[in-house]
């Protein structure tokens, strides 16, 4: 018998969500 391997479902598991991006910060005027 062939068993399917379990695959992590990143989008369905909140604890695996990427941490917020720390840098760069916000653009205050405009970006050249």
């Amino acid at each position: 018998p062939v068993a399917k391997r379990a695959v992590a479902q990143h989008d369905k598991e909140p604890h695996l969500v990427s941490p917020p991006l720390l840098c760069p910060g916000k653009v205050r005027h405009f970006k050249i």
Partner: protein
């Protein structure tokens, strides 16, 4: 007691912004040429703990040129950042700071500035005049003519050129040369300078003895020269404004 876990700083954290403010003020305060720069973005921050309440911080900042010359007494928060269509100039800075017992001091800075690419400006604004070389003949001719015109028609101290800060040339539909330059007041009157300009010496190195001028010459279709100068020592406080937001009293000659 176990040490608190080290939490990396985000670029928009208040502590990072406080460090950036100290750094920008330091950079502007130690610059003797060109314009004041304002913070545009904190690109990166790295904190290296040294001990209790003692951190070294490495900051990468993206700055933008303002309209205030470094000699201007106008506080940075009142200085307008130059728009993209003015052909903006960007500053990239690496700064090393120390935060000791909550006090931030700058240990080292390294900055490079560069104008936005002409292609980018033309692409978004085909009619916008581009920055040109400060030693362009048309620019130096405009500045000399403007300063001569100002000195010859204004009573008071004879003004000497300190530096040209910016220049733009527009070719169509009219040929226009625009330049900005810093000036220093001398111990001569304009009349005295006519006889022996070499004898005129700049007044003491005080902010009130400096000024800033803009000059525009039109050579086509008709000829015209316009110069405006603001002397930092001739600021007139407005009656209902606090001292820090007082306005300049410009002198304009056409």
């Amino acid at each position: 007691v176990p040490a608190a876990p080290f939490v990396p700083l985000g670029c928009d954290d208040p502590e990072s912004e406080a460090a950036a403010e100290v750094a920008v003020n330091y950079i502007n305060g130690h610059s003797h040429h060109g314009y004041k720069f304002a913070l545009n973005r904190i690109e990166n921050i790295r904190v290296v703990p040294q001990g209790p309440n003692n951190n070294i911080m490495f900051l990468e900042l993206d700055l933008l040129e303002t309209r205030c010359h470094v000699l201007s007494p106008t506080p940075l928060e009142n200085c307008t950042v130059r728009s993209f269509t003015e052909h903006a100039v960007e500053g990239d800075c690496d700064i090393k700071l120390q935060k000791l017992d909550g006090k931030i001091t700058v240990l080292a800075t390294k900055c490079h500035s560069h104008a936005d690419s002409s292609e980018d400006v033309v692409q978004l604004c085909p009619d916008c005049p581009l920055l040109t070389s400060l030693n362009d003949t048309e620019v130096t001719t405009t500045v000399t003519a403007a300063l001569n015109a100002y000195n010859s028609k204004t009573a008071g101290a004879y003004l000497q050129l300190l530096e040209i800060g910016r220049a733009q040339i527009q070719y169509e539909p009219a040929h226009i040369v625009y330049a900005e330059f810093a000036v220093a007041a001398t111990n001569c009157s304009a009349e005295e300078a006519k006889d022996n300009v070499e004898a005129c010496q700049p007044l003491p190195d005080d902010q009130s003895n400096f000024g800033f001028c803009t000059a525009t010459t039109v050579t086509r279709p008709t000829e015209d020269l316009k110069v405006d100068c603001q002397l930092y020592g001739h600021q007139v406080p407005t009656p209902d404004a606090p001292l820090l937001s007082r306005v300049f009293q410009p002198t304009s000659i056409s």
